[in-house]
Symmetry: C2
Subunit: 255 residues, 2 copies
Amino acid sequence: MGYTVRQLARLAGISPRTIRYYDEIDLLKPARVSAAGYRLYGQAEVDRLQQILFYRALGLELKKIKRLLSAPSFDELAALKEHRTKLLAKRRQVELLIANVEKTIALKEGKITMTDQEKFEGFKEELVAENEEKYGAEIRAKYGDETIDRANAAFRNMTAQQYADWQQLGNEVLDTLKAAMATGDPASALAQKTAELHRQWLNFSWDHYDKAAHAGLARMYVADPRFTAYYDEQVQPGAAEFLRDAILIYTGMNQ
Amino acid sequence: MGYTVRQLARLAGISPRTIRYYDEIDLLKPARVSAAGYRLYGQAEVDRLQQILFYRALGLELKKIKRLLSAPSFDELAALKEHRTKLLAKRRQVELLIANVEKTIALKEGKITMTDQEKFEGFKEELVAENEEKYGAEIRAKYGDETIDRANAAFRNMTAQQYADWQQLGNEVLDTLKAAMATGDPASALAQKTAELHRQWLNFSWDHYDKAAHAGLARMYVADPRFTAYYDEQVQPGAAEFLRDAILIYTGMNQ
DNA sequence: ATACACCTTTACGTTACGTTAAGGTCAACA
DNA sequence: TGTTGACCTTAACGTAACGTAAAGGTGTAT
């Protein structure tokens, strides 16, 4: 004949303390109290508790719930709409926080590299950050989060020696590219050697090589004015296109 | 020679109580204490407070901030990343809450209409809700949010009389459609009259008529099995297709 | 009779302060 | 020199929604 606190709690999947607390704040009073002082709840209280838990699940405060359960349905709607507005504001706020935290993380990561390995003069991080910012979404969509995360991680964890080697290889790529462009043929042996060197260069940051990704990157070199400008300036005008064509042939992705 | 609590508070844009609280929890201790017991802060404390407020703005707990400010930069990064994960989870949770609250609001609005205007027997809201759920995104993308919002609003604000008229017109559409199908020709006068009646029927909920939207709806009738089933059952098999063809001719959208 | 599961009330802890309240301090002004 | 007003101090309660003891009574099965 009626549920005790623990029984009701088990029924509703909450703690007995919560039931007592709801009694304390007059949100849910027991149907009656036994001679020994035990709280006893009936069907009506079970129903009311269901209502309470429903609104609670929506994130409403207990005070509001209390008012709601004793108010006409009109106020109920108004309260829900007000609550929705609050939630929307909260979401915006959380999004702002996320943006700021991510910005800070990027900044700190840059700082660490700079202090830990001073020689890198911030260039690496800048590259990673820029890459991420500009192509993050795109590359992630194409090749998955893991690929790019691993690439960035590898990049940051390079030792100074590795970084020097990597830079030297990069210069070799540029030199060979210049020589290859003299042949005028992206399929020439020299041009293909350039593509091969470029592949080795990539392997410093990619943990496994992928022809499609390599070809995709080559296309990006041309599509992105920053990259185009870089190659055009470091080698000669048209270098980005030439490198792209050489790589497309090298990877066999030239349709 | 040093800031008092109020001076520091004004400098940082926080309350004196906050400063004292930070002292109490050993987050920010004064540089020294005057003979009279006044807390006095120097430049180092100002700097530390800046740091504290920065992390606080990111939503970090004071305990975490305290640990951060006395830990190497490595932990700092880890803490920020952990915090970011938390924020992402919170955003998901808030989004879930929003979705549920909105669902509940829709439900309650339906209920109100039902109690306010009992005759509507819930059909309207069900239609609106179903329409929204199934085609909301699609229609919104095509015709803009305003169109559909106004349609739903108009729908809900119909008087019982209007609703009755609307239903009668709906029945007329069905009757005429049945007769028109006997001609076998969607271009026939009767079929075109059906399309015209359907247009009038639509005008009950659309605040301005749009040929393209009308044609789009007609195509949807065939694409959506629920609508197809409805017309096929209310009229006869093939009714949805026939109505669509008639409307496409009526609107001149039959390619 | 006793063990065990359950009940009760009381009350502190949680977060980051806001808000009195009671009383001391400092600089300026009459 | 006294007083005023702005400031300082500590202490303590209030906030939301319970979790978690602690101390002691109840119900029932063995």
